[in-house]
């Protein structure tokens, strides 16, 4: 790196209005160490008194070069980094990446593995929404909700730890199936959660849904219409809160989502409150999916039998020479993927998580690009926050549910 260049006023002049140059409005820095920016987001605010005239998000403080790093690893080893992107949706990231690899090399996934994948991603969705609900209400000064949400989230993390040995960075879903089968206590633990959780959602709702302070802080704040939301590429609960009924699990079912009976909650107002309602209802629907999936969980293999891409089970290594060779080749060289690119979108708790994966015929991904919902939602923040108070900006940032690891990659 050479000498630091100063940012001249000319370079950022086009970002603020003329009034800021004349000193009529105030420029204020919010973040990157501000508790309500949910990480390390920096906002350059132009304020007229308390009102936001202009909001310029500045991201990149959590850029870790994951896309570059993945290019230097084999397909299987690169997966470890996918957990670190959106650290509240680790299982979902694994799923998106594995689906992309499976599509690229044309690999099958056994039914049992698919069902377990669905159970875990839906539990993860609930966990992610719980963190969102907790932090969002904490930002709006409802402290107790935060404590309750993290109590329930811990149950889900315990289940993840039970199956994978890790609370958060699980890397449990692997290309072609799963790392190993779920332990025997898994079903009882999930059933406990299913029995326990609905009452808790009602409790959260009792604390917030009709709370006049919460309603005052959220209704009519950060409104974006359905058409505009589409125009800005918003997806997930943020889009559904604006009255567009669109859920990738319904319209482009993957991993057997078409077998499960669930509803896609939609609200029309397009404000912070309607996004809150959508997410609360989504937690209930996710629980329905988990219950149905658990009821239909079949027995069978948890990994594909295609030995060219999926390592053989441990038990075969001692008795089969081919298994030993495959094991050795897969863990040293990896597998070759054909030349070509695929784009796989899945529904993450935040919206459409898309993986663009290009292979060059070798064992390493030639290019991986993550279309992450947080990145795209942040872009619409200036649009949503225009004309609102600084205190409302906090509510809006919370309502689009950004994870900076997801935005900066």
């Amino acid at each position: 790196m050479t000498q630091l260049e100063e940012v001249t006023l000319d370079e950022i002049r086009h970002l603020v209005s003329e009034r800021a140059i004349e000193g009529e409005t105030m420029l204020l820095n919010m973040g990157p160490q501000h508790p309500s920016t949910h990480g390390v987001l920096r906002l350059l605010l132009e304020l007229d008194g308390e009102t936001v005239v202009n909001c310029v998000p500045d991201i990149g403080y959590l850029h870790t070069g994951i896309e570059k790093n993945m290019e230097a690893k084999t397909y299987e080893k690169a997966e470890v980094m996918t957990d670190r992107l959106d650290y509240l949706n680790t299982v979902g990231n694994n799923l998106a990446y594995c689906m992309a690899v499976e599509k690229l090399v044309d690999l099958d996934v056994p039914v049992r593995a698919q069902v377990i994948r669905v159970i875990l991603t839906e539990l993860q969705r609930i966990a992610s929404h719980l963190v969102w609900l907790g932090t969002q209400s904490l930002d709006l000064a409802a402290m107790s909700v935060f404590l309750y949400c993290f109590r329930e989230r811990e149950m889900i993390l315990d289940i993840l730890e039970m199956v994978s040995g890790q609370r958060m960075m699980t890397t449990y879903i692997r290309p072609g199936g799963l790392w190993r089968d779920v332990p025997i206590e898994f079903e009882a633990a999930v059933r406990d959660f299913i029995a326990y959780f609905p009452k808790r959602v009602n409790e959260y709702e009792a604390l917030l849904t009709k709370n006049p302070i919460y309603i005052d802080r959220t209704k009519g704040i950060g409104v974006i219409s359905g058409e505009e939301a589409l125009h800005w590429g918003l997806t997930g609960p943020t889009l559904r809160g604006s009255g567009v009924n669109y859920d990738l699990r319904k319209v482009r079912p993957y991993m057997g989502y078409e077998q499960y009976d669930f509803e896609v909650p939609v609200q029309d107002a397009g404000d912070v409150y309607s996004r809150y309602q959508v997410r609360i209802e989504e937690m209930r629907q996710s629980l329905r999916i988990v219950e149905q999936a658990l009821d239909t969980l079949p027995y069978g293999p948890i990994r594909s039998n295609n030995r060219k891409f999926v390592p053989p089970p441990r038990s075969e290594l001692g008795v089969s020479m081919e298994a030993l060779i495959h094991h050795f080749k897969l863990w040293t060289e990896g597998f070759d993927a054909p030349k070509g690119s695929v784009y796989v979108p899945v529904e993450s708790p935040r919206g459409e998580l898309g993986v663009f994966l290009e292979g060059d015929g070798g064992p390493k991904p030639y290019r991986v690009h993550w279309r992450t919902p947080s990145f795209i939602h942040l872009q619409a923040l200036p649009k949503m926050s225009e004309g609102h108070l600084v205190a409302d900006l906090v509510a809006i940032i919370g309502s689009i549910d950004i994870v900076l690891g997801d935005a900066d990659r």
């Binding site: 790196m1 050479t2 630091l4 260049e5 940012v7 370079e11 086009h14 970002l15 991201i59 990149g60 850029h63 070069g65 896309e67 570059k68 790093n69 230097a72 599509k103 690229l104 044309d106 589409l230 125009h231 800005w232 590429g233 567009v244 669109y246 319209v251 482009r252 070509g340 690119s341 695929v342 784009y343 979108p345 459409e352 898309g354 663009f356 290009e358 030639y366 290019r367 690009h369 279309r371 990145f375 795209i376 942040l378 872009q379 619409a380 900066d408 990659r409």
Partner: protein, 170 residues
Amino acid sequence: MSKFLLSVVQTMIERFELEERTFRDETTLMVSPENIVEVCRTLHDEFDFNMLASQTAVDYWPQEEPRFNVVYQMHSLPQNVYLCLRVPVPGKNPTVPSIVEVFPNANWHEREIWDMFGIRFDGHPDMRRILMPYEWEGHPLRKDYPLGYEEVQFTFNFDEIDLRKPYVKE
């Protein structure tokens, strides 16, 4: 390929003389840089492609002509269809017209591509770096940009690595 996508692809090929590629049921159209804005506008206005799902680039270094491909994922929600567009870009002075006017969310995508690949977008309102620090040199996702790990020193390469070490030597 769905009927809808088939008709879109045929129309686009006739109108703009594009090349079509298919891999794993995904359709890709190769678009020249001059046409990209018009192609995006046609897809948006006439064929209900109402969302730009994703935009990125791929570097094919050391190949020079074209060195880069800018990849657009167009998404039509009403028709539930994805369509991929690829724009080949030469390695020397890579420039592509910006599509911010058609899809406003291309703004940050294009800034990211500029930051990571050094491809400029003509007509972009705010062409600054987005993820890397503003004074950063180079474009990290280019293939000729090293990963930057520290090499392990052995006796046979000690001197060679020592030469490049930043600490003060006696």
